[in-house]
Symmetry: C2
Subunit: 358 residues, 2 copies
């Protein structure tokens, strides 16, 4: 104190600490080198087609990204992978929460890998972005399958629209196939519109049910029964067996009431207990029968082509609509026209013509 | 010959007959006077709202015309009639050919007119333009109803698209209601997409069936059973009664499998013999029960508003699509993109983006 006081006046200034550089040259080098390590499109395509899981995961992350540079890169990877895709069986699995989808998928997945199949498990769950949690998000629910080197599990991509989530999943299927996965299981919850999207991207659509008292279809959206190629009644064990058998009869009767499917396939009802690993090989036998039959009639290939056209037109039409309804002037005028219709001052047709003419 | 030869050289010309005037003044006057006799918008609106059937028919003809001046006039009439519309019960009736729709409608119509109801019978049949003949076209199939002053029967408008036919029918409903018809029966054949359109313009949707051996739903499109508020099994007489009763049980079981309707109504199955006039008053009682219930919960009004919004959005979206797909450049490029997808050179999503960017 005494020392410094000598040299200081009220006007003297301390030098203070030196402001650090905005970026240290050490950090800059580290970031640069990390950037250079980001694999190229070619690296990722080579990795995927040599069944490298890290490359596959990284490419899927690019598909899921909202960054436009990532999307561009993802598109290049998908296009390069297209010639290696398509060689798989794609199976959709739906059912309300609690029906045992994860247990069923784990049991089916283990059965398939034991037969030297390579199994990819994906999910379509548009609600995952609404913080309600993604199905398959908790990989610990499929403990054994997660550890299996012949299985690849990826939770549902998040997205604010079903269309966006569906697109990402369809593109992920292509990459998984290019990586050599020959069986793709796609899980969805049977309570929204997502099963229609999943139905349009799979070869076989399976509805998982429980035997229960009363209305067997409670909680299942209209039209799902019609889409199903099979109804599998899970938890058919112990005291449940009797109820499961009578549910099977009832479903068979309901399925019988629908007109024949385009595929020529008569939907089947079977019982299983995923927990006790009972009836799983029968489910797979049924799916295999379907695939052989569909391939022998060329329905399999034709159906995939129809699905491609469906997604082409679907994407176009979704965009035409969103481009129109998102216009600021249309938003305002649409509300005005709806009010006029409600007041009985115009018809829906005249209102539509007015809006289209703006 | 000898006479004329004297005056003629090789260069002489005959005068020939005089070309008649393009339009004789007499015809011109007649057409003008006929044109002047065409009733004005006001005349027709006044006629319709005073229940004048000639005015109603003439206005419907304007709705059905493809002449743009007629369409403009029709729109003015419809707008003026809107405040007088809406006070009716609209009932959709579907069933495959041969099920006895005309006989059923005649029996129901006679029952209603005997109760001082005024009944309009319309039809939606987009196939009528393809020279397959319009349903209701042959009015002689409803001999008694045709003669009844409290009934108005109009065959399906022709049109090259379901959207066009549906629009014309919906507009015709408005005029019929303004003319005092309190019960609108709309017939359609249960084999195409037209019943979805009819379902979206009625308060109550009735599926007419026959008891028969084997698959009860044969020939009925997927989803129709789900839309039905009632299944009426016709021709339940004589030797058919036993089969009809067992069909009733089967349908009840099938209906039971569907989730509850938004209206809160549980669809009913009943028997009738339209030919013998049996069970018709029971059908009407059921419909009346439905209407009272739907009105007491406000579902009736809300549902009609929803239908209006449906038609507004439907019309907009149909037009957005047709505007896009009818573009000459899009037609060409769409085929090219589909070919690229089939060759595995692009994805449906990239193809869609390319087309939208043209």
């Amino acid at each position: 104190m005494a020392k410094s006081d000598k040299k200081k006046s009220a006007l003297s200034e301390n030098e203070g600490i030196k402001e650090p550089k905005a970026l240290s040259s050490v950090s800059a080098k580290a970031i640069k080198s990390r950037r250079q390590k980001q694999p190229s499109v070619n690296d990722l395509v080579n990795g995927i087609t040599s069944s490298n899981i890290t490359s596959l995961s990284r490419a899927i992350t690019l598909i899921e990204s909202t960054n436009s540079a990532h999307t561009k890169k993802a598109n290049a990877i998908i296009t390069a992978c297209l010639p290696y895709a398509n060689n798989s069986v794609r199976i959709g699995i739906t059912g309300v929460p609690g029906v045992g989808k994860s247990t069923f998928i784990e049991a089916l997945g283990k059965h398939l890998t034991s037969q030297n199949k390579k199994v990819a498990v994906l999910a379509v769950d548009p609600s995952s972005s609404l913080s309600r949690g993604s199905i398959l998000g908790d990989k610990t629910r499929m403990e054994d399958l997660v550890k299996n080197p012949h299985a690849f599990i990826r939770p549902s991509p998040s997205g604010d629209s079903l269309g966006g989530v569906a697109r990402k999943t369809r593109e992920t299927i292509i990459l998984c196939e290019a990586a050599g996965f020959d069986t793709i299981l796609i899980e969805t919850v049977g309570v929204g519109q997502s099963e229609t999207a999943v139905h349009s991207m799979v070869d076989f659509f399976l509805l998982l049910k429980l035997a229960g008292a009363g209305d067997e279809l409670q909680g299942i959206k209209r039209g799902i029964i019609e889409m199903a190629d099979a109804i599998v009644i899970n938890k058919a064990d112990g005291e449940n067996i009797k109820a499961a058998k009578s549910a099977k009869l009832e479903f068979n009767r309901a399925l019988h009431l629908y007109p024949e499917k385009e595929s020529g396939w008569t939907p089947k009802t079977t019982l299983c207990s995923a927990l006790k690993n009972e009836g799983i090989s029968e489910v797979w036998k049924m799916i295999s029968d379907y695939i052989s039959k569909a391939k022998s009639t060329n329905y399999f290939e034709n159906h995939r082509m129809e699905q491609n056209k469906f997604w082409l037109l679907q994407t176009i039409e979704e965009r035409l609509k969103s481009n129109f309804y998102n216009r600021k002037d249309i938003k305002t005028e649409l509300q005005k026209q709806i009010a006029l219709i409600e007041e009985g001052k115009t018809t829906p047709f005249n209102a539509a013509e007015y809006l289209l003419g703006i």
